[in-house]
Amino acid sequence: MGFNVIGKTIMKSLFGKPATAMYPIVKNEFYPNTRGRIENDITLCNYCGLCGRRCPAGAIEVSKPEKKWEIDRTRCIVCNFCVQVCARNALSTERHYTTPMTDKSKRITTLYGEKEEPVKEKVQENA
């Protein structure tokens, strides 16, 4: 039994460097494995729709005739299941997280495969 058992520890941290980071100024380091967000290399995708059917959260929508691959970033739980089931290895997990959004219409990312023109990426308005 004793008093001030933690005294040494707190004096050590008083004169040492804080363990926390000044967040917006100092960015967090991610590991190569970090699951941030799902990305699709649309040139490899064959729009089979397996990722959409297997998604536990129902965040992915694929349309074969339109050559469209669409993900709702706020629904996605980044479980990586779509990446694991993708037969053509088109899907991958980016290290960086989806940035927070104030505008709900930005939550859906849609990718279109090439029709005439090359790959283009755009953020769809309020789907």
Binding site: G2, I10, N33, P56, F81
Partner: protein, 360 residues
């Protein structure tokens, strides 16, 4: 004796950011009765099993709880594997064990911090959580997630940890062990901490058994029950004994958890030394057959029970989770009457409540 006051404890109470509501009936500052109500965040995840096939369901079950998410995933997979009669590769068993024990380490350190906060020991709280971050970093490095790992699958695991990384993890954990040693001294030796925890909320041996207490709450009362002794995953090949304390008060429960942190670290070292090379997953063919399976696992908070009922399709008929907190509410109700109002946060925390977990 003063008038009776009713103090509403929760669902939004600063000590427990979880939706448990207790109506505490007070006489002066003595609690004479407590009526719980839960159900504020009931999500019906168990019911979702009828709409998600048994592979996808892993990710749903993992989200039952944020702290012991890995063991939920593991338990689900183990139950479905039991139902389907799948034997998973040895390496996968060891990897599951390592992640599960790391989960236990981080959960117990988190709990120690919260406990410190319950009796107003802010610096201890912060230091505990600082140490915990290092364990979370290991998770992020090996699985990609800090809290929800999504590495378990029916038939094994998704990701392997190579042997060099395992060795590095051990060195990091040795550091963590040193720091926890320093902090655990405070829980064990500090006068003010002892003053708040010793003799508070005593649960006797027989009460703990009869009321169905689980985990550290049970072992703090001297009952040597630890589901890991069933030998699931790789626990059958590792050397450990359930940690037991006799007193049954908050101090004993704290001590059980402190000692379990070191035990878990030791189990990880053992597992890293013994881990065999090989496959990390077996191929799963077909759907779960008609039948029932019950499995019991040891979570940081205590025993968790899973029940699965298959019907031959890819959707299970029923999946049931009995979380440890649910079992521990009855002992909590036993402990509360007769305590001081000042003890209520400590008692509520001493069972390590995870209400969101309880309301699957």
């Amino acid at each position: 004796m003063g008038e009776r006051t009713i103090i509403p404890f929760g669902p939004q109470h600063p000590v427990l950011p979880e939706p448990l509501h207790l109506d505490l009936i007070l006489e002066d500052e003595k609690v004479v009765g407590a009526v719980p109500s839960i159900g504020f965040v009931h999500r019906g995840l168990e019911k979702l099993v009828e709409k998600r096939d048994f592979h996808e369901m892993v990710y749903v079950i993992e989200r039952v709880c944020g702290i012991c998410s890995f063991i939920h995933g593991q338990g689900y997979c183990q139950t479905v594997e039991g139902l389907m009669g799948i034997e998973i590769p040895e390496r996968a068993k060891y990897l599951r064990t390592i992640w599960a024990e790391l989960s236990r380490v981080h959960s117990h350190i988190l709990w120690l911090g919260l406990m410190a906060d319950a009796y107003g020991f802010e610096s201890l709280f912060m230091h505990c959580w600082r140490v915990r971050e290092k364990v979370l970093d290991i998770f992020e490095e090996t699985t990609g997630g800090r809290v929800i790992f999504s590495v378990c699958r029916v038939g094994g695991v998704w990701k392997d940890i190579d042997n060099d990384t395992l060795k590095r993890i051990v060195t990091v954990l040795k550091d963590v062990e040193k720091e926890i040693k320093e902090l655990s001294d405070v829980f064990i030796k500090d006068y003010t901490v002892q003053k708040r925890t010793r003799g508070v909320g005593v649960l006797t041996y027989q009460e703990a058994i009869d009321l169905g207490a689980v985990g550290p709450t049970l072992r703090g009362s001297g009952v040597p029950m630890d589901m890991r002794k069933l030998g699931y995953a790789a626990y059958g090949e590792l050397d450990f004994e359930p940690i037991v304390e006799k007193d049954g008060d908050c101090y004993a429960r704290t001590l059980v958890r402190v000692r379990e942190v070191f035990q878990s670290l030791d189990l990880i070292y053992q597992a890293v030394n013994k881990i065999p090379d090989g496959e990390i997953a077996t191929k799963v063919r077909g759907n779960p057959p008609a039948g029932e399976f019950i499995s019991r696992l040891e979570q940081p908070r205590g025993q968790v029970i899973y029940y699965a009922k298959g019907n031959g399709t890819k959707y299970l008929d029923r999946f049931r989770v009995r979380t440890p907190t649910f079992a521990n509410i009855a002992p909590l109700l036993k402990m509360l009457p007769g305590s001081d109002l000042a003890d209520v946060p400590i008692l509520a925390l001493t069972i390590d409540p995870c209400i969101s977990c309880t309301e699957r």
